[in-house]
Structure formats: structure tokens, C-alpha cells
């Protein structure tokens, strides 16, 4: 009988996740971005092995030396090796980017799900608070929070996480409301699913793709925010290296020793670009409307 024949080529079904991965790998720029991110993560993880010198060791005989065979990226005003500091600085930047976005997801997604699924007063209160936070420019709020919490990398990360969370609240809320109106969620309700199962097993898995895209783009933003806070002295504290604080001290020598600014600046640029490319690639790969395989 005709309805019992299944697509012959497929022995085992292809899951939506598998299909998204396959489509992502077709996206050249996104794969390039992913490679860059992986390289930076490896560099940060293996910094002790890769760095030619101690990032904190000063040397009075090598102050503001231009890039050379001994110091590929040159040395800074205290005679520290810039390459080593960029490598160790990757730890602060990537950690700040990833951890703050994870914390923002941890705050934003449950709150957004609650607002979207519960509706009514819960939704009104949560949405107004999120709106109020979104009405303040991202960096200004992060600076205010970081200044309030005190200058430290951990506090900067927390400040960035709190500042980034309303975006996830809004996104999750909107998609949860959309999912709540679908037939399959109503079907799940009709089967006797309790509210927590509806939220966690039926709504959440279906809104993961846009959240993943937003999270990737937010990591890029968080890395810039961490660099900015460190630049202002609110993030990573000297002498520990961070791309932002390196730029801060480099600005005084911009004409005499441009390599002090160029290398950390280039690192920020590359990592942020890479995360944005991956985010765009994910968006295309996960978009249910683009049906090309």
C-alpha cells in the first residue's frame, strides 16, 4: 500500500540537529570562524606551553622594543613580551565572553520561559523590568554595574552577564509564546503533560536554535565589553594581562610603539569577527525556512 512506503534512501532518520550540522559545514565563512575560535581556544588553553616568556616578567633591558626574532610581537613599556601577554590575555577575553553569556542564558532563559508560558501579571512584571534594562545602553549599564561591584575580572563578567540577560529574556519569552500557540504544544497538553514538561521538553528544545545564534553573537559582544571594561580599569587588574588593559596602556605610546596596540587589537578583532561569522552560519543552518539541504 502506498502510504506504507518510506523514503527509500534513508535507513535511519536524520535528526534536525544532524541536518543543521551538515548545513553549517557547507558555510565556508562560518567554518573559517569556527577554526579561528578553536585556534584561539587552543592558544588560551596551551598558553603556558606556547608563550615564549612569562607574561608578567619585566626586563629593563628590553623596554618598548619593536617586533624581532626574540620578541615576535615586541615588548611593552615594562619590557614584558607582548606575544606572551596576548596569549595569556586570550584566557581573560574568552573566559569573560563565554562565562558571562552562559550566566546570561542561565538567568534569561528560565525567566523568559516563565514570562512566555505563564503570561498575565508574571509576564507584565518581567517584561517591564527587561524593557527598563534594555533602555540603558549596554556598555553604560555594564560600566555602572562593574563600578558598583568593584574592579575585578569576576565582577566584570557578572556585570556583563546581568547586562546581557534581558536580551535572552525577551527572545525566550517571544519564542515561548509562539511555541505555546502551536498545535504540537497543544497536542502535548492534550496528552496530559504537566506544565513543567511542556516548558522543558516541548517548548525549550524548539527554541534552542535561535538562542544558540543569539548566544554566539552575544559572546562577541561580551568580549568587546570585557575589553572595554578592562580598558577602563574595571576588568582584569594589572599586572595580569587582558587585551583591553593592554590597549589601555598602549594608548600612551601609540606613535612610538604601535605594536603594543596592534596585536591585542588584532586579537579582539579576529575573535569577535569569528564569533559573528559562526553566529551568522548557525542562523542560516538552523533557519527552518531555508529548506536547501
Amino acid at each position: 500500500m502506498s502510504t506504507t512506503t518510506l523514503p527509500a534512501a534513508l535507513d535511519r532518520g536524520e535528526s534536525p540537529t544532524r541536518r543543521a550540522i551538515r548545513r553549517f559545514l557547507r558555510h565556508r565563512l562560518a567554518v573559517f570562524g569556527l577554526v579561528v575560535i578553536v585556534l584561539f581556544v587552543l592558544a588560551a588553553a596551551c598558553a603556558p606551553l606556547l608563550a615564549p616568556a612569562d607574561p608578567l616578567a619585566t626586563s629593563w633591558s628590553a623596554i618598548r622594543k619593536a617586533p624581532s626574532a626574540a620578541h615576535w610581537f615586541g615588548t611593552d613599556e615594562n619590557g614584558r613580551d607582548v606575544l606572551s601577554r596576548v596569549l595569556y590575555g586570550a584566557r581573560a577575553s574568552l573566559l569573560a565572553g563565554v562565562v558571562s553569556v552562559l550566566v546570561a542564558l542561565l538567568i534569561g532563559v528560565p525567566v523568559g520561559l516563565l514570562a512566555g508560558l505563564a503570561g498575565g501579571w508574571t509576564d507584565t512584571v518581567i517584561s517591564r523590568v527587561a524593557d527598563a534594562m534594555l533602555s540603558v545602553p549596554f556598555l553604560i549599564l555594564a560600566i555602572a554595574l562593574a563600578a558598583f561591584l568593584g574592579p575585578a575580572l569576576e565582577n566584570a563578567m557578572l556585570a556583563i552577564a546581568i547586562t546581557a540577560s534581558p536580551v535572552f529574556v525577551r527572545l525566550t519569552r517571544g519564542m515561548a509564546m509562539e511555541a505555546k500557540a502551536t498545535d504540537w504544544v497543544e497536542a502535548a497538553r492534550a496528552l496530559g503533560n504537566p506544565p513543567w514538561r511542556l516548558g522543558l521538553l516541548h517548548v525549550l528544545p524548539n527554541i534552542v536554535p535561535p538562542l544558540l545564534v543569539q548566544a554566539t553573537l552575544s559572546i562577541a559582544e561580551a568580549i568587546i565589553a570585557e575589553a572595554s571594561l578592562s580598558f577602563l580599569g574595571l576588568g582584569q587588574q594589572p599586572p595580569a594581562p587582558s587585551w583591553g588593559s593592554m590597549l589601555n596602556s598602549a594608548q600612551r605610546f601609540l606613535t612610538q610603539a604601535p605594536w603594543l596596540a596592534i596585536f591585542p587589537g588584532l586579537a579582539i578583532f579576529l575573535v569577535v569577527l569569528a564569533f559573528n561569522l559562526v553566529g551568522d552560519g548557525l542562523r542560516d543552518a538552523l533557519d527552518p525556512r531555508s529548506d536547501r539541504r
Binding site: T3, L6, E14, L191, G192, P194
Partner: protein, 358 residues
């Protein structure tokens, strides 16, 4: 006969708000409906789009809360149940949706989808779900291997079979089908109607079919209720309603089925707005027989077994004789003869071994 489902003066209005969120009236989707469905019978609810049939189906399952009225299932008012007790009750009442492309969670495999009600209601011992899922798939005419696949790999008809298997998994007593075949291709419609009919007979299901397709209704319904603008205008045994419709609206619906050769004046225009339904009989604005009383007084459903809500039901001219009472039924029978198995033989020829009971 025992009554399984009973609706008593059930109503649901949806508020209409303006841009500032102020209430500007209400859509009276369902406005005082009383119905009872006998155990083991098939009731069809028919009517044109927007008449409130789907809302009525969801009210009957308390997926939507009624504004007033009682919904009694197995003698128990569903409105009195706690959320927890209601969820447990859902084992006995299930819904089949119109659009099989929307009703299956795209991120769940077929096995997970069908096993979900089994797990929620502990229908089978833990670990035995897979076997039961395979049995259910075979019963609806799919191969057990389908369990490992994802909804997007199936056609509309196959998806609807999966949705039917899911609805039957918990062993419900009552199943409501909300236009279960109208989103499918015509040839597939006949197969799925056959399947539903076999399942109803075999499992002794009580079935409420919500449909606008009178051909399908004629084919499987024991009783028919005709809805217009949120109210029931006629209700009775299917044979009687089709042979001798007592409400002008029912007549018009039957006459509108193509191929009947009916010369009855078709009703014109769109139904009035359910936000401001006309006073008196709601159908008077489109009724060719309307009199003064129809504009002033809303008629009640009157009659014994075959009821109609029409002031003039005893004075209407005899209905025009239709060539084939409902051509859709004839067309469906021909299609079934062509595509499907003869009645009584399960609809899964060459698909699965015999004897797999759901």
C-alpha cells in the same frame, strides 16, 4: 445507552480588545451548546468555517476553559477537577488535529512522540514502551521501523497515521477528531477515513468528528449536530438529518455539496460577525424563509430525537430531492473501493503482520 460525554449550556466568548487593551466586545465562539454523546457512538459536528466547531471540541476536552456551562465526562464534571486530576483524565480522552504537519513536535522522533502518552499515564510497564509503539504503528498501517524516524520525513497521510497512533496509545474512551482528514489529499483521505472507521469499530471508541466535509460525515457518523454562529441549529440521527433536514441552514449545506443536482437556492453572503450576532434567530439574515418572528425571537432546539432550532420547522416547504443524497459520500465510497481495502479488513495490506492489537 450510557452517555459518555455531556455538554450542558457550554459557552465561551473571546474578548476583542482595541489597541489600548480595552475590551470592545467578545467573539461568541460557542454560545450555549448542549449535547450528549452516547458511549460507542460517532457524533459529527458540522458547520462552515468560524462557526465554533473547533472551539467546541476543545471545550469538551477542557483544553479551553468554558465561560459557563458544564462538561461531564463519564458522569464527572471536568470543570471541578484539579489540574492534576484533569491530566490523569486525559488518558481517556484524546484529540486528533487537522494539520499533521503542525501537530507533531519536529524535535521528537516518532517513537518518542507515541511513547509519551504511554509514559505519562504508565500504560505499559517501564521498558515495554517500544514494543507497544511498534504495535501501534502497525495498527495504523506503518512499519515499525518508522519509529526511529523524524516527523519531517513523512508525508501528510503518514503523519496523520502517526498522530492517530499517538492519540490511541493511552487507550482512550473518547477521541475527538478536529477535521482529521481535511488537510490530506483526497486519495489519502479515503484511506485515513477507512482506518478511523476500523479503529472505531474495533476498539469500541466513542468518536466526535468535527468536519465540514459532509461526505465523510455521512460515511461514519451515527448522529450529526449542525452548528451555526456558535449554536447548534439541528441535531439528530445522521440518516434523518441527511434525508429530512429540518433547518433551512442544514438544507442549504446539503444542497451546497457539488453534484447533487440540487436547485435549492444556495445561501448567499458570509455569516454575520460572531462579535455582534443578529438578534432573534441567528440565521435569519441569510434565510430564504425568514419571517417577522425570526428577527425577534431566538428559537430553541425542539423535537425529540431529531431536534432543530427553527420557528418554521413544521411549515417549511418539503426539501428538494437530491439526486445522490450527498454526492461526497458516493465519491468517497468510490475512492475507498479504488484505493482502500473492503470494510472489515484492516487497512494495512502488505504492511504488517495480522493480529497486532493496539
Amino acid at each position: 445507552m450510557t452517555t459518555l460525554l455531556e455538554l450542558d449550556d457550554v459557552a465561551r466568548h473571546f474578548p476583542v480588545r482595541d489597541a489600548l487593551g480595552r475590551a470592545r466586545g467578545a467573539v461568541r465562539a460557542v454560545d450555549g451548546v448542549s449535547l450528549s454523546v452516547a458511549k460507542g457512538s460517532v457524533l459529527a459536528i458540522v458547520g462552515e468555517s468560524g462557526c465554533g466547531k473547533s472551539t467546541l471540541g476543545r471545550l469538551a476536552l477542557r483544553l479551553i476553559e468554558p465561560d459557563r456551562g458544564a462538561v461531564r465526562f463519564m458522569g464527572e464534571d471536568l470543570r471541578g477537577l484539579s489540574p492534576r486530576a484533569l491530566r490523569a483524565r486525559r488518558r481517556d480522552m484524546q484529540l486528533i488535529f487537522q494539520d499533521p504537519f503542525a501537530s507533531l513536535d519536529p524535535r521528537m522522533t516518532v517513537e518518542d512522540a507515541i511513547a509519551e502518552p504511554l509514559k505519562l499515564h504508565y500504560v505499559v510497564p517501564r521498558g515495554a514502551e517500544r514494543t507497544r509503539v511498534h504495535q501501534l504503528l502497525e495498527r495504523v498501517g506503518l512499519r515499525p521501523e518508522a519509529a526511529r524516524r523524524w516527523p519531517h520525513e513523512f508525508s501528510g497521510g503518514q503523519r496523520q497515521r502517526i498522530a492517530i497512533a499517538r492519540a490511541l496509545a493511552s487507550g482512550p474512551k473518547l477521541v475527538i477528531g478536529d477535521e482529521p482528514v481535511s488537510a490530506l489529499d483526497v486519495s489519502v483521505q479515503a484511506q485515513v477515513v477507512n482506518l478511523l472507521q476500523d479503529l472505531i469499530r474495533e476498539l469500541g471508541l466513542t468518536f466526535v468528528l468535527i468536519s465540514h466535509d459532509l461526505g465523510v460525515v455521512r460515511h461514519i457518523a451515527d448522529r450529526v449536530a449542525v452548528m451555526y454562529l456558535g449554536r447548534i441549529v439541528e441535531e439528530g440521527p445522521a440518516a434523518a438529518v441527511f434525508a429530512a433536514p429540518r433547518h433551512p441552514y442544514t438544507r442549504a449545506l446539503l444542497a451546497a455539496v457539488p453534484g447533487t443536482g440540487a436547485k435549492a437556492a444556495p445561501i448567499e453572503g458570509d455569516p454575520p460577525s460572531p462579535i455582534a450576532p443578529p438578534p432573534g434567530c441567528r440565521f435569519h439574515t441569510r434565510c430564504p424563509f425568514a419571517e417577522a418572528v425570526c428577527r425577534e425571537q431566538a428559537p430553541d432546539l425542539t423535537g425529540a430525537d431529531h431536534r432543530a432550532a427553527c420557528h418554521l420547522q413544521d411549515r417549511l416547504p418539503p426539501p428538494p430531492v437530491l439526486r445522490e443524497r450527498v454526492a461526497g459520500g458516493e465519491r468517497l465510497r468510490r475512492l475507498q473501493a479504488h484505493f482502500g481495502a473492503p470494510a472489515g479488513v484492516p487497512d494495512r495490506v502488505g504492511a504488517a503482520p495480522q493480529g497486532a492489537a493496539p
